[in-house]
């Protein structure tokens, strides 16, 4: 139909273009779901690239470890440290524990924050499974966890020598995560 000007022809292709772009995007998402690069339920941390928030937590009674405060996380530090939020009632924390033990044996300081827990339960947990923590603060009300932007336990933060938070992992650090993600980061920030 000659009367349809060229000016309008491109508009007829607009829906196709949009649909194709959306389709490509969806495909990337589906691929990402399988490779792990796209996760609709994963939540990013706002603290990456910042120093740890101000806080000061008392030690766990009977654990024979000093408490933890922001001052312990200010640079310069001798090496990168891992801050780990955990609780004795948290099932995935049990799965994570051997990896924390291994890190501590390898000389990486693991600084624990015991989240919303009972002292006796927390003590029993580390007595039974080993204590990987060089420092252990108690956050019974869970307020410091909010300052860190924690949304569930376990959650771990890697802090470099300058005291900058470089990496956050929500969920248990399993052997795979330790080898594939954490170890390279530890080497990089060593």
């Amino acid at each position: 139909m000659s009367e349809t000007g060229k000016s309008r022809r491109w508009m007829l292709y607009a829906p196709l273009g949009l649909a194709a772009a959306a389709g490509a995007g969806f495909w990337v998402m589906l691929r990402g779901l399988q490779t792990g690069s796209y996760n609709p339920t994963g939540v990013p941390s706002a603290l990456i690239g910042r120093t740890a928030p101000d806080f000061s937590l008392p030690p766990l009674d009977g654990a024979d470890r000093p408490g933890l405060s922001a001052a312990d996380l200010r640079g310069p530090l001798p090496g990168p440290v891992l801050v780990n939020f955990w609780a004795s009632w948290c099932v995935p924390c049990v799965a994570e524990h051997p990896q924390l033990m291994r890190l501590s044996r390898d000389g990486v300081p693991v600084l624990g924050i015991n989240y919303k827990d009972k002292t006796a339960d927390a003590l029993a947990f580390i007595r039974r499974r080993g204590d990987p923590f060089t420092r252990l603060g108690v956050d019974e009300p869970g307020r410091v966890a909010i300052d860190w932007g924690v949304y569930g336990v376990p959650e771990s933060y890697l802090i470099d020598r300058q005291g900058i938070i470089r990496w956050r992992y929500a969920g248990p650090i399993l052997a795979e995560t330790l080898e594939n993600e954490l170890r390279p980061l530890l080497r990089r920030y060593a």
């Binding site: 009367e3 829906p15 196709l16 649909a19 959306a22 998402m29 589906l30 990402g32 796209y38």
Partner: protein, 652 residues
Amino acid sequence: MIPELGHFALALACVLAIAQSVLPVVGAARRDARLMGTAVPFALGQLVAVGAAFLCLVWAYVVNDTTVVNVVANSHSAKPLIYKISGTWGNHEGSMLLWVLILSFCGAAVALFGRALPTALKARVIGVLGWIAVGFLLFILFTSNPFTRVWPPVPDGRGLNPVLQDPGLAMHPPTLYFGYVGYAVTFAFAIAALLEGRVDAAWGRWVRPWALGAWCFLSVGITMGSWWAYYELGWGGYWFWDPVENASLLPWLAGTALLHSAIVVEKRDTLKVWSVLLAILAFAMSLLGTFLVRSGVLNSVHAFANDPARGVFILALLMVYVAGAFALFAWRAPRLAPTGIFAPISREGALVLNNLLICSIAAVVLAGTLWPMFADILTGARISVGPPFFNSATAPLAIPLVIAMPIGAMMPWKRADLWAVLQRLWWAAVAALAIGFVTLAVAGYPVWPVLGMTLAAWLIFGAAADIADRIALFRRPGQAFRRALALPRAAWGAAIAHGAIGISLAGISGMGVATDTLVQLQAGQSTRLAGYEWRMDGVSDVTGPNYRARRATVTVLKDGSVVTVLTPERRTFIVDGQTTAEAAIHTNALRDLYAVLGEERGTAAVLRLHHNPFAPWIWFGGLAMAFGGMLSLSDRRMRVAAPAPKGATVPA
């Protein structure tokens, strides 16, 4: 044995659908009447085969056949029969089968009731429906077979999620699917028109009943979903702008636009290319919803837990149908010669404005739904888009739409005198403002509820003014009744549907001034909320068919006399140990008293109490919209969509 029969029936349906998608279309291209004639038997055969498969699955559920994986995962012998049946479609596989069943039902309806359709158009429409059926049947057979067996049989099933054990939710998916699938039919009409290279007034007349029917079902489905959220989720909320809710709203919006633009095609033989595009879009939105819910790409409370392999399959279907349709559109639309121009101030001008605003709202909802996902893959940023965004981004579009609705509905075709229309609406405007002032006086400062109430009244009185004008109520009151009876049902339907939006809007505005309180009460203690005294009389044990419950008795009094006794429950389901809160609601049509039972502390109980003014109007409005649509659908002129069209559309 029965599940194997079902599986076989499904495979048979797939074969029939393949034949249905090829032969009639080839026939239409070759003008071979015999090939075109195969459309009807294939469509009917497909319905029989899919229906048989569906019944086999229902049977497996009813007898609790624990050798079928699907039954094991979603049912339990101790469930009431109705939830055994509704459990059939309470899961991914079963709901896909229901979807295809409704699709073949629609195909058969076109075959049976489309006798007056031009043969070639009918053959093409049924053929296109066949293409859709093939895709989804293959999807079921390859990725989501509901008849997969397990051996040895499991002792009993795992039960249906207790929140789904609800009569409202039993009917929710079938209603929604009728809506979604109805748009498959208008889509098929659009593709057939593109293949044929012709859209005329007759096309508009065929498409409109289907668009209207689908719209009615979708309206009811969305209303039911919203009502269910209100009474079952126990927060007193009715719409959360959740991506899956949006996925049902998007086809509704596109369908609403289509409904209106098809009128222009029919009456004025213009807006044709646009209407074809809308018909494609409405179905595209339905498919998009299917993809979003079932592929796992989004984060929603309602999403089916999922499997990327299925996601890839549905994405492929989405691309074949939607991108294919858009490609066909880009190629063939220039053949649909643009005809007719019209004055901006006219009924058709108003309908264009309606389409512009509705589609803009749809664009905003679509962007808000998809952008968080796309922002993630494009920039890595994680953002949330929730109710505050949708409310503030759609309001500037919805307000002019609502203001224009009564005015547009009263404009004559071709050329209207805006001033004359406004003169006939002055009393509606005055009444609306009066309602606005009353709301201001009663509810006080809140801006949105006052504005909402004013606009709601404007819609309701505007619809009344439309009818009053048509039956000359004020000019010749004596004959008004006779004229009212003679008024076409389509006119009544339109006015009712428009007024119904006002009713819903009033309910939404009322919820804007809802009040609630959270209290801990001992037996015999009471609290005050919204002028009522709420007295907790005690908590007792109740045993249901497959749950145990704690039931609080709350007596609501006003000025010392009993208004109602509310019995909110906290149910614990025996099979899976899940608990749900059953809200107790008392309505008197003007407000809901709503109580939810929380935890018990010693002899005291925690109760959340709500006073929700006008809440029931939200859903009443939704149903009234659908009623208006149905009334319109029953119009003689719509049924006579049947009369043989002009000679030009009959194939030579």
